[in-house]
């Protein structure tokens, strides 16, 4: 009996049946459930099925009227669309799931893949940069992708115009991965349709979004974290100041990835972003050799971390049920502490003189309720 009670707190296993996978998708596609909440719910409920069963009650307790979990038809449509484009689902914990993404704070629970997932097991370098890059930028992207490819590195990029396109093209014969912002079957820009088909045939296309999803602005930074997450190093080939590539670079630093940049003359505005990164300590890249020398010491590929371990660092589930009144009071105290500036979760717990077991579920409630936001690095902020 005691054992049975404990069993619901065991870390979840990767999905093994079609039904499991269906439930994973259904949980993930439910409203207000992102990668971080998904992880927390799995930690607390053991399986996606259990989490789905608990969600409506949690939402009701948090005061959300009429919360409904993702209808099964939505997942059925997603699976059907994926099948039509021969996309394969990679779930966290699957043998083919890219192990480097386990380093992320918000590891995507699932990825859709078209092409050869074996590329995910090889060391990879991300090449990113301006869509409107100069001819120098195009040439440099091509040279780096070609030479790094010859050295055995898979080239990861985002299938955008400019640097991305040049990098994928030059890396096609040696191995390239395109991480898409929208659905894995939605090619943007349209002029890269042919390249995207070549990558599906010879390389790999990946996306955490459902197939057929049109890419939206908010998808790009999320996509970029996967690009840098897959790679040992991120090379910014050419970037103006205040460009998206700089955001990718800073996120990559947060992920513990090596960030490198190709310099340009300060009078060339298209190099301003790269020079800024270099001034702030990024490694300088003149050629593929510079990239390889900057990589962290080559170690044996670490054995794939089981999902159990990934979930282990999350706070333990609540030791006992609290009254609605107690819960409401805790919610109020949390919201009082949080503002628009992000605060670390453990700092919040200390500030409240509470413990993770009490605060954790309250945070899930508030997050589901849309009152707080969870950001990379375990930071929390209040939604105004």
């Amino acid at each position: 009996m005691a054992e049975e009670q404990l069993s619901s707190y065991h870390p979840p296993l990767p999905p093994t049946t079609e039904e499991d996978r269906f439930s994973w998708l259904r949980l993930l596609r439910s409203r207000k459930v992102g990668p971080a909440t998904f992880r927390r719910l799995m930690r607390e409920h053991g399986t996606a099925q259990n989490a789905l069963a608990a969600l409506p009650e949690m939402a009701r307790a948090a005061g959300i009227e009429g919360y409904e979990i993702c209808p099964p038809g939505v997942v059925e449509a997603e699976l059907k669309a994926a099948k039509a484009v021969r996309a394969r689902l990679l779930c966290l914990g699957d043998p083919d799931y890219p192990k480097h993404l386990l380093d992320l704070q918000d590891t995507p629970p699932v990825l859709w893949a078209i092409g050869d997932p074996a590329l995910l097991r090889r060391p990879a370098i991300a090449l990113v940069g301006a869509r409107n890059c100069s001819s120098l930028g195009t040439r440099m992207a091509r040279a780096l992708a070609h030479d790094l490819g010859k050295q055995g590195y898979v080239i990861v990029s985002g299938l955008a115009r400019g640097v991305d396109t040049a990098a994928h093209l030059a890396g096609l014969s040696t191995g390239t991965i395109a991480v898409m912002a929208g659905g894995v079957d939605v090619v943007y820009p349209a002029e890269n349709t042919h390249l995207a088909a070549d990558i599906a045939a010879q390389g790999l296309r990946l996306s955490e979004q459902p197939p057929r999803m049109t890419p939206q602005a908010r998808h790009f930074p999320r996509r970029n974290r996967i690009i840098s997450g897959l790679a040992q190093a991120v090379v910014v080939v050419e970037a103006a100041a205040k460009s998206g590539s700089l955001i990718t670079a800073r996120d990559a630093l947060d992920q513990g990835r090596e960030v490198l940049a190709v310099p340009g003359h300060p009078f060339d505005a298209r190099a301003a972003g790269c020079n800024l990164l270099l001034r702030d300590g990024a490694r300088l890249v003149r050629n593929a050799q510079d990239v390889i020398e900057a990589l962290p010491m080559q170690t044996e590929a670490a054995p794939q971390k089981p999902v159990q371990e990934i979930m282990k660092d999350l706070p333990p589930p609540p030791p006992q049920k609290r009254s609605l009144k107690q819960t409401a009071r805790l919610h109020m105290r949390i919201l009082d502490r949080l503002g628009p500036s992000p605060l670390a979760e453990d700092q919040l717990i200390r500030d409240l003189s509470s413990n993770a077991g009490d605060v954790g579920p309250a945070l899930v409630d508030l997050e589901l309720d849309g009152k707080i936001q969870r950001q990379a690095g375990g930071l929390l902020s209040r939604v105004e």
Copy 2:
């Protein structure tokens, strides 16, 4: 009596009379006496006059046949030539002698100056780079010199073509110092004659060589150490790989100076030297602000270090006279230890299980004898 014996070991004073200055020059212009030997001789003999009196006997003891100190006529000619071009002698320890040069391992004992020595008391930045620089390089040198000048920094350079010329021109109105490889009156290249005259009138020209000395290849690296020595930071504006500017940059690092470089695109060979420096950790320069931010914390100008202190870190003089046989044996042991690769003097002393008081004079003998060479950083090597 004991006091009188000790007095000859007192650190020397800067020259105060015309006769002193004459003797300083005469000692410095004597064969095999460079800045390091000059310092050591002054340390051991108290005054230039005493050192001059001791030199022939030291040379004889070292087995040099017919060694003669510099004839007085040579110094008379130097002084006359200097007077003709209104050059002023700045001796180590003089109030006008640039205090930053005291940081060098081989501080020049004297400098000839034409122009305004007050510039030596202001904070200075060295701008160096290619003679055949691109138009981007010229524009950058001009912009940096102009903007740094406006911020109160004196621009130090070497009056060469390209970057140097652009830097001096742009720094002329706010303060610029040209350090010449040959005599302070020997302008090279000739096309800079007008600029050199302007610098004499509005800025300062400096050289450690005697006036009328034609610049020779070996003078350039020695000149460059003064350029970087005068400055808080050395900015390499544009430099190819394997260029002289890179040697200046590395010497500047050895001197503890901040080295900065302006980046360029890796496909531009004229930026290869700068990119190499940046890859190896030099600070990146996009504009004058980057230079200023990279400077060490602004501290009050340190009071001028007296010559006594400069000489103090040299090993003490020998406690007693040794027999010729003992001396010869020590010389042999030293030469056995030394090879063409430089060895630190204190390492040598430890290897010999000896002390600085014994080894020091033997090293002077061997140096005068041309059997060993003294290099920057107190390193010694054997002349093959």
